[in-house]
């Protein structure tokens, strides 16, 4: 069993968040509004490669590089499919704008996967089950991972609220508002992680750890 690092790290979250923003707005903010699909497809490789670099550099529990990359990509793929499914179930069209939905799901899935891997590394499934299925994160690193995931997903979810309004703004079109929501969510998660990092561990927590 690989050693578990209980402390959260702050910089990968921040770096990843900046990276997402940079890849989406690399030229100007207009591009995302004008051609959301093309912009997303162009940004995705950048985000994946950049995040992989961050993850490799951050490699928390000394996992082998190649398996780490493969695992990240594989879980990104699986999560993409799951998120795509739920997006459709939440009301996105199945046929119309299929590729937009898919690229949006890929974006959300990948930033989620990397923020989790950056905090928890690759460990046994029980830990993931405990943190994400039973909602019982205990250590700071787990709380950070949980917080980031939740804020990305909720951000993307909240982004849908503006779609029906008749303001006729470019950012109301699917999936721009949701991408922006996910982006904001990631930023919020990163800030939360920094706060968590700076907060001193309470006596109670220490006792629990022992």
């Amino acid at each position: 069993m690989l050693p578990q690092n209980r402390e959260c790290t702050w910089w990968p979250a921040l770096a990843s968040s900046l990276l997402t923003a940079a890849s989406l707005f690399k030229t100007s903010s207009k591009e995302l509004y004008r051609q959301p699909l093309e912009c997303l497809i162009a940004a995705l490789p950048l985000i994946i490669v950049g995040n992989l670099a961050i993850t490799l550099f951050n490699n928390r529990n000394g996992y082998g590089s190649l398996p780490l990359i493969i695992r990240c990509l594989a879980s990104g793929l699986v999560l993409t499919a799951v998120i795509h499914g739920f997006t459709v179930l939440l009301g996105a069209s199945l046929v119309d704008k299929f590729w937009s939905t898919l690229s949006f799901s890929a974006l959300v899935a990948n930033i989620t996967v990397f923020s989790v891997v950056n905090q928890l590394g690759i460990t046994q499934s029980e830990l993931y089950v405990r943190v994400f299925m039973q909602h019982r994160p205990s250590s700071n690193a787990e709380v950070a991972a949980y917080m980031q995931t939740i804020s990305i997903l909720i951000g993307a979810w909240l982004g849908a609220i503006v779609i029906p309004l008749d303001w006729e703004r470019p950012w109301q079109r699917w999936p721009v508002s949701c991408v922006l929501g996910a982006l904001l969510g990631q930023a919020v998660g990163a800030v939360g992680t920094i706060v968590l990092y700076l907060m001193p561990e309470s006596e109670e927590d220490k006792r629990k750890d022992e």
Partner: protein
């Protein structure tokens, strides 16, 4: 102990319901508009130049010139000469404008365009004696309101729209009264709404032939009935009623007619039943065309034929709203004499027809601008060039007909003359024609002026005070003054003096006269616009009072919902003396205040008038309103004091409460969801897309349910795969998305909206596909058929699972030995039978959709099998296709639904008997299931096919919602499931083809199972069909709640669960009701108030009353038993 245990909650529910009812009553009192009707009859003016020139302040300006003599000297008569001697009024209900003119060939709407070629023929053959207008109705576009407007020339307000079922007598002055006075023998045939509205004049049974207007399935009875009376009458041999005394007939030709009014309903019924794009519509319009062709032959020089529709129809064939499709109808006038100057062949004077054409279009342009008619929107929506024909408002017909028939204009008319139809008798020159026009417009203006003065003096409405109307009157004064000024000019005098004018002088004179004419018209149209706005004036005082009460009641419920133990605090407070004291005091003060205010608002001075009454605030508050409001205020103040005294409300108590809330994520989420959904009612886009909003909330909560379910039961990844904790939410999500493909599109959702609706199902390829030349024609042609067949197969397949649901209903606790009980087997048979019947009915409905039924029946009749059969069964022989058709229609529309009502009723009564004295909560759950099944049978019977199948299959969904992997998740996920249930109800509302608009009401439901009109059952059926989704959701909550209760033995916990569930279900209706009322106050001047916000609020009010019924049922059945059951329960637990 038990009685006191239960009573607090029941009392609380009663209190809340009463408070809400009072709040809604006050609010609607201020919100729904009412208009005063004046019982004054108009008479002929002694002269068109009465009181000339009008001026403000009654200081009579010295009459500089006698206009009357001028007019006479120029040979201008003050009336239309000679007035028509006979009138044929043909009203074709729902005659949309694009049915009338010749339009380019478009295959998509071949069923209704170019079906009335007679119109174009008349326009071509006799252009000067035929005029066609676009006839614009004011919303609401319901027949009764339109008839009122068409005859009185006034603007019926929204409140009248609700009384379409019980249309009552018109008390205002109306055109028909004047017409019947002028025409001795007026005949009426058609829609019986006329008889109800104009019973004062249409009371001669031998001359009126009313027909029932509500049988929308019946396309022909009314029309054929009319034709059966019309032709004999026109040909002069209508059999006279023998009972009439011979004295009145005096031996003369008794079938002489002066005025015939016909109201055809077939087109409207066809629209309601099949929509405009349907072969039946083509047949109906062809029939109308033949009728018109024949009718035109009876039109001579002295007869005026008036053909018009009272409103249009939407794309789906319904009406009631204010979309362009619904308001645009057509008006055609035809006679053998020339009717209009603008196409006159004989040039009159020296102005040619071009001049008049130009003048009329200028007047129409001005009117369109003032009343903001959007030509472009009409052109895009209806597909014809809207600029090609002038648009006239429906009420303009009233003064125009008065003019043409030489009757006084009805007293309350607000319409303006249609300039195109003004026609001076003699050959006069152009200034004289213009003066004639001015004269007619002044008669019209004077009538409107008199009406306004009378209205302002008789009512206390502040918008009609003389000072408020003054800006309008100034326009009229200006017009009179300018005419007066002009008459003293030399050019004018020269013209009067019949001296020759130079070209330039003449042109200036014409220009000046034209200007004056436009000013009169401006007065008329500005008045119309002003009145439209003023009758949309609300009583803000009443609305605010209502909202405050709603808000106070809501706060109390939310308090009890957050902290269930407050119910006891409240209960103790109710018994406190101070509450009673303050309530009585409040009522007394309110009573006195009411009388004082009633007295104060009669005077036009004082502080009350200055600050309150002048702005129309508390205008509509009655003495009862004041008493009830202040009593409620006293009551709530007393409660607040009593609660504060008792519970020693301190800061730490509040802190504790906040802490408690933060530890209950479910409570928070419920409140946030309710609030968020209610907040969306403040935005028109969210209301328009509410179906998607509801779906989003629903899917989000299903995901929350999934997360909760997975988190609470200690699952591993492996055990999860087969757990219903994972699959039940996912099935729910799939159900939502699959059903989301059907529904009804609001017109605001166009063109993005692509719902499959029941009307698009068909088992016969559409005819229009034949003409299309593309390669996929075959696929296109058969696509709907394939889709429909697939739909039917899937639904029949689903239905085969349904009887299994009964097993769950019978023994949730799975005691298989009861499977063989006879009652179970009987119920299963009955259930299966009614499912089969419902499916058969749907197949029939789909067949009828394409009118292929006729085809099938005929082909069966021709087939050899039938020939053989009929020879065996003797009495079947000799039946014609029509008879067969009528028999099948009766079978599916009347007998099968009746049978299903009976089966559903049987289930319901069985359930009720079981619930009466339940042994334990398990039995209660069983009876809830049985009642639910009975309910779905009845509700599915009255739905359209797609919605009906969804309702019918709902028990499967409910099974999914109540199937839990272990007991712990039953109560853990209860909140999530109840929230989902509520929103599923709303989702089902949309899925079954409803929207929060008047147009979307399924009126045809009223006659499922009934062949006659019975007011109350029909109204019940329509409301059941509309609220089917909510009813299903409410009744499902019985099942869910009783299941959750059955799994808890602790009586206190049970009470808490029960109370929380009931409050949760009602909060989701109470929060939106309160907030929506506040939004309406804020947005009352919004452009979309009547179109979007008001119908949504009315739906919310209906839902509130529905949820009150739900509360009563819940409290009566479960709440009542809850306090009884523990009496017997402890023994059982001890045994266990």
């Amino acid at each position: 102990m038990n009685a006191s245990y239960r009573r607090p909650f029941a009392i609380f529910l009663v209190w809340v319901s009463l408070a809400y009812t009072l709040g809604i009553y006050l609010f609607l009192n201020g919100f729904l508009l009412t208009r005063q009707t004046l019982h004054v009859e108009s008479t002929h003016l002694s002269s068109p130049w009465n009181q000339f020139p009008l001026a403000s302040g009654h200081d009579h300006v010295e009459k500089s010139i006698d206009m009357e003599s001028i007019a006479q000297s120029k040979g201008i008569s003050d009336i239309y000469e000679p007035p028509f001697q006979r009138a044929i009024i043909v009203l074709i209900d729902a005659l949309r404008f694009d049915f009338l003119p010749k339009l380019g060939e478009r295959p998509s709407d071949q069923f209704y365009t170019n079906r009335l070629p007679i119109v174009q023929d008349l326009l071509d053959q006799s252009p000067e004696s035929t005029v066609l207008f676009q006839f614009r109705a004011d919303p609401p576009t319901t027949t009764m309101q339109r008839l009122k407007a068409l005859m009185t020339g006034s603007l019926p307000t929204f409140i009248d729209a609700g009384s379409n079922f019980a249309s009552s007598d018109i008390s205002e002055d109306h055109l028909l009264r004047h017409l019947t006075r002028r025409f001795k023998s007026t005949y009426f045939m058609g829609d019986d709404t006329w008889i109800n509205l104009f019973s004062d004049v249409l009371n001669d049974n031998s001359r009126t032939f009313p027909f029932d207007s509500f049988k929308v399935f019946d396309l022909d009875t009314v029309d054929h009935g009319i034709l059966g009376k019309l032709w004999p009458l026109l040909d002069g041999h209508l059999p006279q009623d023998q009972t009439r005394s011979s004295l009145t007939d005096t031996g003369s030709n008794s079938s002489q007619w002066d005025c015939i009014i016909t109201h055809f309903l077939g087109v409207d019924h066809c629209g309601h039943t099949y929509g405009p794009s349907h072969p039946s519509m083509a047949a109906k319009l062809d029939e109308m065309n033949t009728m018109l062709q024949q009718l035109v032959q009876y039109v001579d020089e002295d007869t005026l034929l008036i053909l018009f529709g009272d409103h249009g129809m939407s794309v789906a064939g319904d009406h009631g709203g204010e979309s362009e499709e619904e308001v645009m109808s057509g008006l055609l006038l035809h006679s053998k004499r020339p009717l209009t100057l603008s196409r006159s062949k004989h040039t009159k004077g020296d102005l040619n027809q071009n001049y008049f054409q130009h003048l009329f279009s200028k007047i129409h342009r001005n009117r369109d601008k003032t009343l903001s008619y959007d030509h472009d929107a009409i052109t895009t929506r209806l597909g014809y060039d809207a600029t090609a024909y002038p648009i006239v408002s429906q009420i303009h017909l009233v003064p125009t007909l008065s003019y043409l028939f030489g009757t006084p204009i009805p007293f309350g008319n607000l319409g303006a003359l249609i300039p195109d139809l003004l026609y001076p008798k003699q050959q006069v020159d152009d200034p004289a024609s213009l003066l004639y026009f001015i004269q007619q417009f002044r008669i019209n203006a004077l009538q409107v002026y008199n009406y306004l003065t009378m209205y302002s003096s008789s009512g206390k409405h502040k918008g009609f005070s003389i000072s408020a109307l003054d800006p309008l009157f100034q326009i009229l004064y200006a017009a009179d003054r300018r005419l007066d000024d002009l008459s003293s000019q030399t050019t004018f005098k020269n013209w009067i003096g019949a001296s020759l004018l130079s070209e330039k002088e003449r042109n200036t004179l014409v220009e000046q006269l034209e200007d004056i004419l436009m000013t009169y018209d401006e007065f008329l149209i500005a008045t119309l616009k002003y009145c439209m706005a003023i009758w949309a004036q609300f009583d803000v005082g009443c609305m605010v009072a209502g909202s405050v009460i709603l808000f106070a009641a809501l706060l109390t419920i939310v308090g009890v919902f957050i902290k269930p133990s407050w119910i006891y605090t409240l209960h103790r407070a109710f018994n406190h003396t101070i509450v009673r004291l303050l309530t009585i005091l409040g009522a007394a003060i309110g009573l006195i205040f009411g009388f004082v205010v009633a007295h104060l608002s009669t005077q036009e001075s004082g502080l009350w008038y200055l600050y309150v009454a002048r702005h129309g605030i508390f205008d509509k508050m009655s003495i009862f309103g004041w008493t009830a409001t202040l009593a409620f205020m006293g009551n709530i103040a007393g409660l607040a004091i009593a609660v504060a005294v008792q519970s020693k409300l301190t800061l730490s108590a509040i802190q504790k409460c906040i802490q408690w809330i933060s530890h209950n994520p479910d409570v928070n989420l419920v409140l946030i969801t309710g609030l968020a959904h209610a907040l969306t009612l403040g935005s028109n886009s969210f209301i328009v897309y509410e179906d998607s909003v509801v779906r989003f909330i629903l899917a989000s909560w299903s995901i929350y349910w999934l997360i909760r379910g997975v988190a609470t039961s200690s699952h591993t990844l492996r055990s999860l795969k087969s757990s219903s904790d994972l699959w039940a939410p996912i099935i729910t999500l799939l159900f939502i998305q699959v059903t989301a493909t059907t529904g009804l599109c609001r017109e605001e959702q166009q063109p993005q909206c692509a719902y499959i609706h029941s009307g698009s199902l068909s088992l016969m390829p559409f005819r229009e596909a034949d003409s299309s030349t593309n390669e996929n024609a075959f696929v296109d042609k058969w696509l709907t058929v394939i889709a429909t067949t697939a739909f039917l197969i899937v639904s029949i397949f689903l239905c085969t699972f349904l009887p299994e649901v009964l097993q769950q209903a019978w023994f949730p606790s799975s005691k298989p030995n009861r499977t063989s009980s006879t009652s179970y087997i009987w119920c299963k048979i009955l259930y299966g039978l009614s499912i089969g019947l419902i499916m058969l009915r749907y197949i029939y409905l789909i067949l009828e959709n394409t009118s292929s039924t006729q085809y099938i029946v005929v082909s069966i009749l021709q087939s050899s099998i039938y020939q053989n059969l009929s020879s065996v069964v003797i009495h079947l022989n000799g039946l014609t296709a029509t008879q067969w058709l009528r028999m099948t229609t009766r079978l599916f529309q009347i007998y099968i639904p009746r049978l299903n009502y009976a089966i559903g009723g049987l289930f319901l009564s069985f359930a009720l008997r079981k619930a009466w004295r339940p042994v334990d909560l398990k039995e209660l759950e069983e009876s809830a299931w049985i009642a639910h099944i009975g309910g779905t049978i009845i509700l599915a019977t009255i739905q359209r096919p797609i919605g009906g199948v969804i309702i019918l299959c709902w028990p499967l969904m409910l099974q999914n919602l109540t199937r839990m992997s272990d007991k712990s998740s039953i109560s853990k996920t209860l909140t999530a499931r109840l929230v989902i249930l509520h929103y599923l109800g709303e989702h089902l509302f949309f899925v079954t083809g409803h929207q929060a608009i008047l147009t979307a009401i399924h009126w045809e439901t009223a006659f499922i199972g009934f062949d006659e009109m019975y007011m109350i059952p029909n109204a019940i059926l329509v409301s059941l069909a509309t609220l089917a989704g909510f009813i299903v959701s409410w009744s499902s909550s019985f099942v869910v709640v009783s299941q959750a209760l059955g799994d808890n033995q602790d009586p206190t916990l049970r009470q808490t669960i029960y109370q929380a569930s009931v409050l949760l279900m009602s909060l989701f209706n109470f929060i939106p009701t309160t907030l929506s009322s506040i939004f309406i106050i804020v947005l009352r001047r919004h452009l979309m108030t009547w179109k979007i916000f008001a119908p949504r609020f009315l739906l919310q009010c209906i839902l509130f009353f529905g949820s009150c019924l739900y509360l009563i049922a819940m409290e009566g059945i479960i709440g009542g038993n809850l306090s009884d059951v523990p009496l017997r329960q402890p023994k059982r637990t001890r045994q266990a």
